[in-house]
């Protein structure tokens, strides 16, 4: 079984403003992009379970032209609030890298 991190050309997280966190999972080619979409490993429900956030808070978008999956959630802590540990939101994607994608 391959990990999502081995299949994607870029997995990243980032602030989308101080109140929203966004994740991009981008692929080099259409076949890999389709394979991951079809595997259903990364879905609205899957993401919600992995990050333990309510499904209704998850915006899940497939962007065919970019060959990318994009997910946005409200920030768990507002950017730079006392409990926030990631000012740029750039290190929240780690669990996605390890996600196992069935053949």
């Amino acid at each position: 079984m391959a990990k999502l991190g081995d299949l994607a050309k870029l997995i990243r997280s980032k602030n989308a403003g101080p109140f929203v966190l966004t994740f991009d999972v981008m692929f080099e080619d259409d076949a890999t992009y389709r394979k991951v979409i079809d595997s259903q490993v990364l879905s609205k429900a899957g993401f919600a379970a992995l990050y333990r956030v309510p499904q209704e808070d998850v915006l899940f978008v497939e962007h065919d032209a970019a060959k990318a999956i994009k997910i946005s959630i409200p920030r768990p802590y507002v950017q730079c609030d006392p409990d926030d540990g990631d000012a740029y939101g750039g290190q929240q994607h780690g669990p996605l890298v390890d996600l196992e994608v069935p053949e």
Binding site: A66, S72, V78, Q91
Partner: protein, 457 residues
């Protein structure tokens, strides 16, 4: 067919660009040169304390080259979100840099400053009128919250910029502005279709972020026409591909297909991306959905106190296996020590102590799915926040000693349970801020929240 050419010097003013790339952009005779100068991305301190992101030296280097290019072509130069947060102090700072360069080089031009810092009385009136609305998710708002804010800016659209250029401005220094509005202003003014104008602006705003392998911050160029736009990086070794341009709508946005601007929404749902050459891309089908009202986003920062921090590591297996209870017992006992220290004048509500555990969930907090795993060592970051720096420092000095020797039942005798990489272990962080607004104002006029001042240089 109408065509407007736009040169984006770099993704963020002060991050640099290659002189050769920018020169190539100038040789293509753009109708406007733009550059974004800020973001909320670094956090609320930039707005709250008027901090700068890049140094004056780095900023001046980029502005000097842009002003030279502008002087050669006599086209508008637009800089957005001056000084990072786009507060009035940032506009003043950028104005002084521009005037210094003008003196050194003998340039003459009409300068417009568009300020976006908000008058609190105005905002309170709009709030009472029900014309301030929450975005999702939004913190609470009240007249007190508006009053307590250190600084509040409104994020301008293209309208004040267009008004300044129509008024003859050749260099426009904006307070907080949407990154896109800087690049959309001149194409919209010249009457090209809003769809390609806005989508091109979105593609240009981060400089070479829309290229396939971004080597370094650099210049990028767009030709905006009625039913499409073309985009090409100015470094001949850099490439835009259909995928790289499409992907840029993802960056720092919640929804890649719909991007909200003050007067409407950029809709790239039906955009088609075609390779024009091996390094330039043509984009068709982008739309701009005009809203029936103007909405101006607010950004506010409030002072949260003054902070002192302590960094420490733990390698002791017995402490690690009871880390949470050890830290909880330590903090509970420490509350008594604080009461003694200040003779009861500093109560439990007057200070905040937080401990972040690196090696467990220090980065992700409650999003961490592996928070039950602990390695053989952890790093701790203590933050102590009160209304005065001296108080925070006094608490931190006692806490570092108290925590260092806080016992565990397994060992009989005095222990030193924290490894300090720095001494003294307490570091004053200074003022800390929070973002306190995620709201929009519905003004009657797109210009009413922004103050424009022009001067002949």
């Amino acid at each position: 067919m109408k065509e407007v050419k736009v040169l984006s010097a770099t993704g963020m003013l002060g991050s640099g660009f290659m002189e050769s790339s920018f020169e190539r952009g100038i040789s293509l005779k753009p109708d406007v040169i733009g550059c974004d100068g800020g973001s909320t991305d670094g956090g609320p301190a930039y707005l709250g304390a008027g901090e700068r992101y890049f140094s004056k030296e780095a900023t001046k280097r980029d502005v000097r080259l842009m002003m030279a290019g502008r002087d050669k072509l006599d086209v508008p130069l637009i800089i957005g979100s001056c000084g990072m947060a786009g507060g009035d102090s940032g506009v003043d700072w950028m104005r002084d840099i521009v005037l210094e360069i003008a003196r050194e080089k003998g340039y003459r031009f009409r300068l417009a400053l568009i300020r976006s810092e908000q008058d609190k009385e105005y905002l309170k009136r709009r709030y009472r009128e029900g014309r301030i609305l929450p975005l999702k998710p939004a913190p609470p708002i009240s007249e007190e919250i508006i009053d307590q804010s250190a600084h509040i800016v409104g994020v301008m659209g293209h309208e004040p910029i267009v008004a300044a250029i129509r008024g003859g401005a050749q260099i426009v220094l904006c307070g907080r502005a949407t990154d896109t509005s800087l690049f959309a202003a001149v194409p919209l003014m010249k009457g090209v279709d809003a769809g390609p104008a806005w989508h091109a602006a979105k593609t240009l705003e981060c400089g070479t972020a829309a290229t396939a392998q971004r080597k370094r911050p650099d210049s990028i160029f767009a030709w905006v026409r009625d039913d499409h736009f073309d985009v090409e990086p100015m470094d001949p070794e850099s490439r835009c591909t259909p995928q790289s341009v499409a992907s840029h709508t993802l960056y720092e946005n919640a929804d890649p297909f719909l991007i909200t601007e003050p007067d409407g929404t950029i809709d790239s749902t039906d955009s088609r991306y075609e390779a024009l050459s091996d390094r330039s891309v043509r984009v068709y089908g982008s739309r701009f959905r005009k809203a029936d009202r103007i909405t101006i986003k607010l950004e506010g920062a409030v002072l949260d106190g003054y902070q002192t921090v302590i960094i420490a590591g733990i390698r002791e297996p017995f402490i690690l296996r009871q880390l949470d209870s050890w830290l909880a017992a330590m903090q509970a006992k420490f509350a008594d020590r604080v009461r003694e220290l200040f003779d009861g004048k500093v109560g439990p509500n007057d200070y905040k102590i937080r401990v972040r555990v690196y090696g467990r969930d220090g980065v992700m907090g409650k999003l961490e799915p592996r928070a039950d795993e602990l390695g053989h060592e952890v790093g701790l970051l203590f933050t102590i926040t009160t209304a005065r720096q001296e108080t925070s420092r006094a608490i931190a000095k006692t806490l570092s000693h108290f925590a260092l020797h806080f016992p565990i039942p397994e060992w009989r005798g005095l222990i030193s349970g924290l490894a300090f990489p720095l001494t003294p272990p307490e570091l004053d962080k200074g003022p800390v801020y929070r973002f306190n607004l995620h709201h929009i104002v519905v003004p009657e006029d797109p210009l009413e929240m922004f103050r424009t001042e022009t001067m002949e240089v």
